[in-house]
Amino acid sequence: MIKSLLVANRGEIAVRIMKTASAMGIETWAIKTSREPNAWYLSHADKIIDISEEFEDIPIFLDVEKLIEITLKNKINAIHPGYGFLAESPFFAERCEQNRIIFIGPSPDAIYKMGNKTIAKQLARKHNVPLLQGSLGTVMNIKEAREVAGMIGYPVILKAAAGGGGRGMRIVEKEGEMEKMFRIAGSEAEKAFNDSSLFIEKYVRNPRHIEFQILGDKIGNIIHLGERECSIQRKHQKLIEESPSPALDEKLRKKMGEAAVNIARSVNYYSAGTVEFLLDDRNNFYFMEMNTRIQVEHPVTEMITGIDLVEWQIRIAMGEELPMSQEDITYKGWAFEFRVNAEDVQAGFSPSLGIIEKISYPKSKNIRIDTGVKQGSIITPYYDSMIAKLIVHGENREKAILYSSNALKKFWIKGLKTTIPFCMAVLANKNFRNGKFDTSFLTTEMKLNIREDPEEEMLAAFFAAYDYARDLKLEEEKCVNFEKGKAITPWLLNKRLKSI
């Protein structure tokens, strides 16, 4: 039984986990850090562990031994790692097991095997899941990289063996670029994952990114909860996700879903997980990787299946058996998720750090907001720039797009630049509306990243002139009355006095 749960994470996912855990009657614990001692997620916890006065050698959410120590000291049953940080560390999962703390996630063995891209690929090959041609293991140096790339043919993609999230990933179009890209990808991987090893893969130009949600229990039942379409990305960072995908029909969904379940079965997977595929324009799909954690974009699946994934992560961790089989899973309507990040889309998505002076969300029963901030929160350079996730459900894709456009218009933030106008511009794009898009969408369809509206620009010009006129008026009021009611500025007065 889980009676108490430490959320070893921050931001919106900490809030998200604590909401479900509280509803299940579990006591929730959060950690207060020096970097954000007033964070919003803390207000959702039953108990807070305050380390904000302590010196943090490494961020607490990455400090395995410290997390184990505070969990044991406070007699907490279980740890939920959320996403990022230690969510996919087999070592952390193992240290939990050794200390009889329930780790909310898969087994250390499954995390290790799927985290190592080379082993994951070998498993996929063994279970007849289609794969992209590539290096058999990691490539040691530029010379070997050139040989492998020459064999499978350019373009190729370099990926960090320990990677994910787009870091340590570079496309190499021709042999001449290999040296530079190998160096960049290697150093990026070294920084992000402390492991510079890379492997090479054939690069599919402009594929769709389709992933399947997996749920498995400790008895051996594994099902999938359909796909998520995550092709709207910038530099491999997802910006808008939806479920289902406009690219899949029932037949392809079944085929890909079975492949995803097979991958999960190869490591006796339990808990929630995600199998990522690339889908080319002829409906060939290729296994990319399995993420052994809850994903940022999990809400779209929850919206159309009605299944609370965090609840099932916790139930499975307690040893419960999945009561539903694959046939019981049905999909209702369509759901979108928009990542509202503090980024200036008109300046190449550069971070727009600062204070959220005011925030106002759209409200409706088909709208869900997952957020870790409130009015007055600061978007710091320490963590990602996410402000909130806007999740919208509709009876079908067309309706969901309409409801989403309206919701985005009512999502107001003061103090920061956000990705909201970008999301609006995507929804207005004809090819997006028709479901005809792939991972190249941003570079081919979104030259401006926003939609310029002449009427809005005119209103903005008017507002600027209005403010300018008001300032001038204030300036005039400051003037001293002099010379028979004629106004004179203090500056001029001063000058005249001097020249007397």
Binding site: K417, M458, A461, F462, D467
Partner: protein, 178 residues
Amino acid sequence: MAEIKSTSAKEKFIACGTGNKKFEISQPLSERPKVKGKKLDLCIVEEPDGFSYIVWKRKKYQVDILEKNQNKYTIMINGVWYSFTIETPISYKRRKYLEKAAPSSKIERVNAPMPGKILDIMVEENTEIREGDPVVILEAMKMQNEIISHVNGRVKKINIKTNDSVMKDDVILEIERV
């Protein structure tokens, strides 16, 4: 488009936008502006400690002043920002004259598009570079970004060193057009 037109030439402002866009706005300006004595379907609302918005044709537009320096403004409306310079008819004439008189500069500056750290400098001073050539690698938000030159030319001056931290819009290097 621009329906807010001037009533008399003396009492107007000209908002100059990007790409030679010009908006003429008549005085006096108030929350409920009038054109030729007729009230427009436009209203500015500024909530104390809250949002500012314009109601235009019964639709709400969130507005905010992002930057303001004398007569230079950056205004955000519904999340999209636009830059303007507010001129009077006289200062507008002067501006036009100066634009014509100023010789076009041969020096092109490469600015940091975002705050970050310089990981690698791929050019040296006095080397020839072409449009699209990478000049530096900038690390921001744990991602490495290639900053490329947008002109053909010769590197005139490098203002940074490896491992330097830069702020957004800092001049990284200067290129002399050829």
